[in-house]
Symmetry: C2
Subunit: 255 residues, 2 copies
């Protein structure tokens, strides 16, 4: 059984895509087989692996809208043991077409459960919204990883997310757990330090110990079409996402 | 006739809300009457003026979904001549309910045209998506202001936006013009400098001369529930958004 990790936050620009890619690559380095699923119409995860969004015939929309089997949509990337289901702008239409179907929030969960996939981890990159796609991701996930900047709007977004977690547990996925990941932290910045402290005191063990700090190499690696661990193996971002991967594996063992 | 400015970018976290608020406040300082309309389910613009999202009975959803008159939904803020139409999470449902209506992209344009509003400028804060709400904003706007970080994903998002501008001009709003605003710039950062140069050489006069640089005071002001111009009048962010307001007024005279 693959462990499914949804990476989601309604707030935009908090490093959802950067985290999905970097964590996936770090898990592969530790000997795991990983599938990344790009669920965002922006297709930034697809782009960050050097692929041209919109070129692939089968994408995550094929699964969500056309009931295509997951195994038919997976494709290899340049990184051994890191596969991808690409996205395209078509997935934007699922916010309109999915909610009219009964049990529309279970589509992804069923698609994953019905196929015996050869992956240790499946990582879902979500769009910055709490619509039909994100609900599907939460219903399908064992763990919800919430990248959060130590800033006011990003911390505030956690309030809506806690409500969606509760609703998802009641309707589709009683065992859904969550963990907050503090991203893009600038330790020299007073607002960042204050809000970081508040997050830890409010959420306690609901926050990963690992923190991802600002590292400009994380801005550069998508331009090269590679995860940070391959682009600059010794960068601070690579180190911190590797530590995150280890903490995640430990956490997955307990649940 | 009010000048309508839509602030939109599919990419998340590029300072759409910060720009809508700061520009609005700077235009008020220059003697204009300004209405801010929060069209995002996150309701960050509402929050940044010290209001509790979800508390107001009438919101932007009332206009988009219930055909409520704009004049009935406007409310005063603590800032003289700066009014607000708040948002709530309900507006998320418009991605599902609007597209089934004929001419659904004209709802906001018609609502604005049918009321003679006492504002010099109306500023629309959009969600990080190119769905039904953003299409309404582009159809209603005289100018589309596109906040853009000098980073790879943000610059890439301009490609989809150019397509949507073309489609909007063909279907709803032939006179829609656009301007890119470079935001959150760190001049010491090589990626930022490179992409900034590329944006100017690609888009030429389609980019505002004014640039908004990183300024941590812009992170602090929403916590205080005030625009930067009121929170720290002498901050770099205040100065740069005031310069932007002046450049915008000049530009509006020409079109
Ligand atoms: N630790 C970091 N240090 C510096 N830059 C970072 C870091 N993490 C991410 N970035 C950059 O910040 C921007 C936002 O990150 P990213 O696009 O991954 O966020 P997102 O949450 O996926 O955004 P969206 O809401 O649009 O999907 C990107 O340009 C990315 O390269
Ligand atoms: N020039 C700046 N310097 C420093 N921080 C900034 C600047 N502009 C915006 N910010 C901060 O960056 C974050 C993103 O800005 P903001 O929320 O306005 O972006 P947005 O595009 O509206 O995001 P979303 O896509 O979620 O709606 C916020 O925490 C904001 O306070
Ligand atoms: Mg993303
Ligand atoms: Mg915003």
């Amino acid at each position: 059984m693959s462990k499914v990790i949804a990476v989601s936050n309604e707030k935009g620009g908090v490093a959802k895509t950067t985290t999905a890619l970097s964590l996936g690559a770090a898990l592969v380095e530790l000997g795991n087989r990983v599938l990344l699923i790009d669920l965002d119409a922006q297709a930034n995860l697809t782009l960050s692996l050097g692929l041209e969004p919109g070129e692939a015939e089968l994408t995550s929309s094929s699964i969500m809208l056309d009931a295509e089997k997951i195994i038919n949509v997976c494709r290899k990337t340049d990184i051994e043991n890191l596969d991808l289901i690409p996205s395209s702008s078509r997935i934007e239409t699922s916010e309109q077409y999915l909610p009219v179907r009964t049990n529309y929030t279970n589509i992804l969960q069923q698609a994953i459960r019905q196929s015996s996939l050869p992956y240790d981890y499946i990582i879902l990159d979500c769009p910055p919204a709490l619509g039909a796609i994100t609900r599907n991701a939460l219903a399908a996930a064992n763990l919800l990883l919430i990248p959060t900047q130590a800033e006011y709007f990003s911390a505030y977004a956690l309030r809506n997310m806690m409500g969606l977690i509760r609703r998802t547990r009641e309707s589709d996925n009683p065992n859904l757990s969550y963990r907050i990941l503090v991203t893009m932290l600038d330790r020299r910045n007073r607002t960042h330090r204050n809000i970081h402290d508040q997050l830890r005191s409010t959420f306690g063990s609901g926050v990963f110990n690992t923190v991802i700090e600002m590292d400009t190499k994380l801005r550069e690696s998508p331009i090269a079409g590679q995860p940070i661990t391959h682009y600059k193996a010794a960068a601070r971002g690579s180190t911190q996402y590797r530590i995150l991967a280890q903490e995640l594996i430990e956490y997955a063992k307990e649940t």
